[in-house]
Symmetry: C2
């Protein structure tokens, strides 16, 4: 493949990642629902859980980074650091989606051993939106993993070719 094809694929993947992170942030931030349980009204929203806040911050950092790399010229020095930063952003996305999934699982299924009841029956719309945000966040993490393996492959190929 030519360098031009490589660049187009990388740009497309970063645009997709940017779209996925924006979708994850918008869906997560706008998700809230009120429910009445035993005459008490409670509102479920993403900011009630520190893990969901971390998820939004991580997606914002990943989105901002994707945008920055897209507008950066390939000739600047920073561009050469992208492979290291790609590793950091992939780790950040993996970490935030894993933590958010763990909490969402408790929200959906509960944990009878710990006495934590599922809340999705009370606030189904909130749960659906959080699920949507997690799907978008998961997509962003997958896209970044593909981007990383693609970049690593491009960097390592000549080394493999020499040593084999």
């Amino acid at each position: 493949m030519t360098t031009k094809t490589n660049r187009i694929i990388t740009i497309l993947l970063r645009l997709l990642a940017l779209g996925a992170t924006i979708a994850a942030i918008v869906v997560m931030v706008t998700s809230h629902e009120s429910a009445q349980v035993l005459n008490l009204t409670f509102t479920a929203k993403y900011s009630n859980d520190p893990v969901f806040k971390y998820f939004v911050v991580a997606e914002a950092i990943a989105g901002g980074y994707s945008l920055l790399v897209l507008v950066l010229s390939s000739k600047s020095l920073l561009w050469r650091l992208t492979i290291i930063l790609d590793v950091v952003v992939t780790a950040l996305l993996t970490s935030s989606i894993s933590a958010a999934l763990a909490i969402a699982h408790v929200g959906k299924k509960g944990n009878s051993h710990a006495g934590w009841l599922p809340i999705c029956e009370q606030v189904p719309k909130f749960c659906d939106r959080v699920t949507g945000a997690l799907v978008a966040g998961f997509a962003a993490a997958i896209i970044y993993s593909v981007l990383l393996v693609y970049s690593l492959h491009a960097v390592l190929s000549p080394i493999f070719a020499v040593k084999i």
Copy 2:
């Protein structure tokens, strides 16, 4: 630095990572405590939570991989794939520690909005052991991140030198 120094540092880091993963698995698997609440006896153990099981599996994979790489000859073809596999193992460790930390946080602090009560007051010894396992798991993730940045730096340095 010479190639020999590089290899010694890498081997030391992998030995440390192996030790940390073994410690994390042993401490997590042996953590269980019984408590009596309202005349009901309940036992807290790691296998009650799917996230803690995932944590043990991830640490076992990372430990097994570290051992495999340590015994592999540097001349075999597999050894050249380690940088890609290092990325995968780092992502796996990051994911499992993030998910386990999220659940441990609920266990320690609870979540009043969702009505999930903290359980650490009932089973303090269990909580201490899980905290210990998480510290060891966190150490393993940090060691693998350092190893990855170190390997990437070694691979990318000549590329930087040529292009700058």
